[in-house]
Symmetry: C2
Subunit: 337 residues, 2 copies
């Protein structure tokens, strides 16, 4: 049995969800792969839990739900995540702090600290990847550790590992997809119900599908960030958010959706990179029986390849347990070989 | 550079297509993975090419296209594939003889001979897998070699490697999908054009999408075989073709498709295994915006998992170059680790 000591940095919906998944799946993973994942530290904004002999991850998850994480016996008030990462005897850092696409912080510093102390990084945090992909990749390589981020694009839907582990003989020629579940939900509802944008947005906000400030989603920023990550990681490009050409969904009318539908099309917010040109996010017409025409909050990515032709994958783009599937997949991949 | 010596057994559309792909992708794969794939033997019904110092795979492909494979300088008339497998100094056997779902032969004997002489097997041949999966798996394990068959289900579409390499933390709860491109083509055309079954079948035969004897496809046999492979390999079941409940598409009328369409549905031939019950193949109603509702000759598989929810993958289910993507992926996976 290989014992792997884990730090979880950022204990919000994703971070605490991963803790729960690690706890629930510990036996399954140790039986199947001979790997025992043990959480030995949790970093939050106002302090840390440090516990070299292992933390009961389900207990930490429950304390977090109750808002009493700082009542954990190993809680240390005011200790920073950076100090936790640098000081802890751990193998791997799961970085799950909120995405900041302007500075990439605090995730960027967390990842650099992890690499420089020879720890692998698995992350769902798009910010640092959108801003400093090459720097992060090179620092990981220099330190002989791995840098994996399946959860940063498309939640549960495998994309990066799909290319890396199942399409290895292919060159990826272009990428297109629906990478934001909120926009897909809004466009799907507008189309099927004939309702205006503002109405469906309010409904999505009530359901928790859209944020109070929906800009990041509906203006296409989130889609563009994910596209930039795919460009760098899959196509070997060197682009950042500012290189993308981005249009959101706020100007789409029920009338346009109706016209499209009458002709056998739906309108979707598509992120695409064709033949290594600049990443582009814009509403596009998609034939109704095309694999990209998926409804609701689903995400979908289509890859054009030289041997396999078009390969399309669809799945849930968000949700704590769903995203933990991708994080656990990255964790297992690092240690399985 | 790791040198890998390959035998290709069965040099029809798939076998010769793989030879071509190995030739075209040799530099890409050696640059990226440090593996050099060299074909050292080719087995055909009436003889073999044996060439320990390596065969020019593209030359062999071209000779096959011209019907003059037996003019190759290393051709040995009448030498059987079994003798080639047993005698050759090779690391791996690509088994690509035609599928026989009654006896599994000659593929079954080829695979057993490969395992028993410590050679890995990569195959696209469904027959042996449908009949003797457990026996093959155990023989491979006993001999410490690998047994991989991504190409046997869904052509270019990753399914087995998708589960194995990208959804490792998940339990797979159920599987459903369109696993036969011929049936999907026929139903799609009948639905969009309002044409009767016999008319579209003739059209598909003219286009080379359906065989002269279409029974194997339209009666659901091919779909059932693929489903049985998925049941055994992904769900850990122990079933064979006779355990499946199979209905084909020959009784579907344009009227039924029209009624379905008016209600927002399409009819598709779906293979499914729910909660480890017996494999079932039957025409089913699928909502038009559901990820399974793909048109043309596409294949699609949807996996229900405990963490990731539903993950769906769509791709080309047939074609020599497309299928070689899956075979090369298996080859690389064996040697990458």
């Amino acid at each position: 049995m290989k014992k792997v000591r884990i730090l979880i940095i950022g204990f919000g919906v994703i971070g605490s969800g991963v803790a729960r998944a690690i706890s629930e799946k510990r036996e399954f993973i140790s039986d199947k792969y001979g790997i025992d994942f043990e959480v030995v530290g949790i970093g939050e904004r106002d302090g840390c839990i440090v516990c070299p002999e292992g933390i009961d991850a389900m207990e930490a998850y429950k304390l977090k739900q109750d808002g009493t994480l700082n009542k954990h016996p190993c809680w240390k008030d005011g200790v920073s995540s950076i100090d936790l990462i640098k000081g802890a005897n751990a193998d791997i850092v799961i970085e799950a702090t909120p995405t900041n696409i302007n500075s990439g912080e605090p995730g960027l510093s967390h990842m650099m600290a992890a690499f420089n102390t020879k720890k692998h990084v698995v992350t769902s945090n798009k910010g640092p990847l959108t801003i400093a992909f090459q720097k992060l990749k090179k620092t990981a390589e220099k330190n002989g550790v791995q840098f994996r981020f399946e959860a940063a694009v498309g939640g549960a839907m495998p994309v990066l590992n799909l290319v890396r582990e199942t399409l290895q003989a292919n060159e990826i020629l272009s990428i297109e997809g629906i990478l934001n579940g909120t926009c897909n939900y809004i466009l799907t509802r507008m189309s099927t119900e004939g309702l205006p944008y503002e109405h469906v947005l309010s409904e999505a906000q009530e359901l928790g599908i859209a944020e109070a400030d929906p800009t990041y989603d509906v203006d296409g920023i989130d889609t563009a960030c994910k596209l930039v990550i795919l460009a760098n990681a899959i196509l070997g490009m060197n682009v950042s958010y500012k290189d993308a050409d981005v249009t959101g969904i706020t100007q789409i009318s029920p009338g346009a959706l109706k016209l499209a539908s009458d002709d056998g099309y739906v309108i979707k917010l598509i992120g695409e990179i064709k033949d290594r040109n600049r990443p582009r996010v814009a509403p596009r017409l998609v034939p109704k029986d095309h694999p990209l025409a998926v409804g609701g909050t689903l995400n979908v990515i289509s890859l054009r390849t030289d041997l396999a032709g078009e390969i399309t994958v669809t799945g849930k783009g968000a949700g704590a347990i769903e995203t933990s599937s991708s994080i656990l997949s990255d964790l297992i991949s690092i240690y399985k070989a």
